[in-house]
């Protein structure tokens, strides 16, 4: 909800050369804004893995750092950095559009100085991230036994048969 004002006339993030892209193939930075439910997490991981390298992740708001007000929810994750590598976080609930611009500029400086390379960590520690992802995504399998369509779990079961 902070991104439309950041992009349009009032804060205009385009003056720093930053603009929204419609597809993950064209994107450099993935902004995860707000709380991440398990179904969202599945899609975030897919989007992240479709982006070409080098890629960076900006986690936005308290919800992605420690769960925020959803800290004890059964259906949201509390720390995004356990599932995909996060380069920079913006805390606050909700942060102002200025915070987005500030974070993007800090990220640019980090890229210049070579500090921001979390996508390399994802390749090196893939087992760690994959184990964490599988641990929570198990919960999204339907209880009553229908095979989910278009899911990795469904394909695995087919392969076993």
């Amino acid at each position: 909800m902070e991104l439309p004002p950041a992009m349009t006339s009032r804060w205009d993030v385009e003056r720093f050369g930053v603009g929204p892209m419609a597809t993950p193939r064209q994107a450099d930075v993935l902004l995860v804004t707000g709380y991440v439910s398990l179904k969202t997490l599945k899609r975030i991981i897919r989007t992240y893995e479709q982006m070409p390298e080098p890629k960076w992740v900006l986690a936005f708001g308290s919800c992605t750092v420690n769960g925020g007000i959803y800290w004890d929810s059964y259906n949201t994750i509390t720390n995004l950095a356990e599932y995909i590598p996060v380069d920079i976080t913006v805390s606050g609930c909700m942060p102002r559009p200025e915070a987005v611009i500030d974070a993007l500029q800090t990220l640019m400086k980090m890229i210049q100085s070579g500090e921001a390379g979390a996508y390399k960590k994802y390749k090196e520690n893939y087992e760690y991230y994959k184990a964490n992802q599988d641990r929570v995504l198990k919960k999204t399998v339907p209880v009553l036994g229908q095979t989910p369509k278009n899911d990795l779990e469904g394909k695995d079961e087919d392969a076993k048969e």
Binding site: S9, D12, E14, R15, G17, A22, T23, R25
Partner: protein, 294 residues
């Protein structure tokens, strides 16, 4: 050797001017929307960044199609006279230009169809439908000018308008100019005729699967297409120019008109766009043709 160098220089010049126009265009749109806007050299930074990134290819046809798109438009560029300079001299270059320009877009269509993304396929089918829409009025306009001048050489048509500003085809045939401007808007894929791009609807259409270097090539293709299309209009309606600086300035005026329309208009649906292009500009162009003939 000199000929090769000359062709090379023409290509570099077209890409440079096209990217400069794209950057200034973004700045102008930002100012119209009361924003500050990116610096005018942003397009160069974008292309530099895109060529430095890793890119994902799907198959050989995708690579070939992207190169064919840029190559087709660069080949078109070689036939367009720029202030008396032309890379390849022919006496009937207007027909060659209109023929070669389609090859660039067909290459793009081939590349994105090979990527296999449904959004890209929708985008390309829309782009080709739009091509059907704008080429008919544009050809009607060109037909009128060919009949008046008795030649299909772009140099001779631009030389025939030499002298004062009153000799320009823009003043002599205002209806043809208006029809060509509307067709140009669709040719460049700017609003209201950008149904093929439509980021919110089909995720930027043909560009949906292009990453890194492929998107960079698409940027360069767009830059060359801006250069070629404005250069054709300047030669047809604004009498060419005596030196390159004036020529680029005239091109920039044409591009600014396009950008002003782009900045304030919403988007046509594809069937509305083709219906509009096949009624209003064709009507104006046919009227001008009748005025010329009678």
């Amino acid at each position: 050797m000199m000929a090769v160098l000359r062709v090379f220089l023409f290509g570099i010049f077209a890409i440079f001017i096209g990217l400069l126009f794209m950057g200034i265009g973004r700045k102008v749109i930002a100012r119209i929307q009361l924003r500050y806007g990116p610096p005018f050299y942003q397009a160069f930074l974008d292309v530099g960044k895109l060529f430095a990134r890793k890119s994902i290819t799907h198959n050989f046809v995708m690579d070939l199609g992207m190169v064919m798109a840029l190559g087709g438009l660069l080949a078109t560029m070689l036939f367009v006279p720029i202030a008396g300079h032309v890379a390849v001299k022919t006496s009937t270059n207007l027909i060659v230009i209109m023929y070669l320009m389609a090859i660039g877009y067909l290459g793009m269509a081939m590349a994105v169809a090979a990527s296999g993304n449904p959004n890209a396929t929708i985008g390309v089918s829309r782009a080709l439908t739009m091509m059907l829409g704008y080429e008919v009025p544009f050809f009607t306009v060109i037909l009128g000018l060919i009949i008046v001048n008795g030649t299909s050489s772009l140099e001779l048509i631009s030389q025939s308008q030499a002298g004062s500003i009153l000799n320009w085809n823009m003043i002599k045939f205002p209806l043809a100019f208006i029809a060509a401007e509307i067709a140009l808007q669709a040719m460049m894929g700017e609003k209201p005729f950008d149904a093929m791009i439509a980021p919110a609807e089909i995720a930027s259409g043909p560009m949906v699967e292009l990453s890194g270097k492929y998107l960079g090539l698409a940027f360069l293709t767009h830059a060359v297409s801006i250069f070629v299309e404005t250069a054709i209009i300047v030669n047809l309606f604004m009498g060419g120019a005596s030196n390159i600086f004036t020529f680029v300035l005239k091109q920039f005026e044409i591009y600014l008109i396009t950008i002003f329309i782009e900045a304030v208009f919403p988007r046509f649906k594809i069937e509305q766009a083709v219906k509009f292009l096949w009624t209003v500009p064709i009507g104006i162009a046919v009227l001008q043709l009748l005025l010329i003939l009678l």
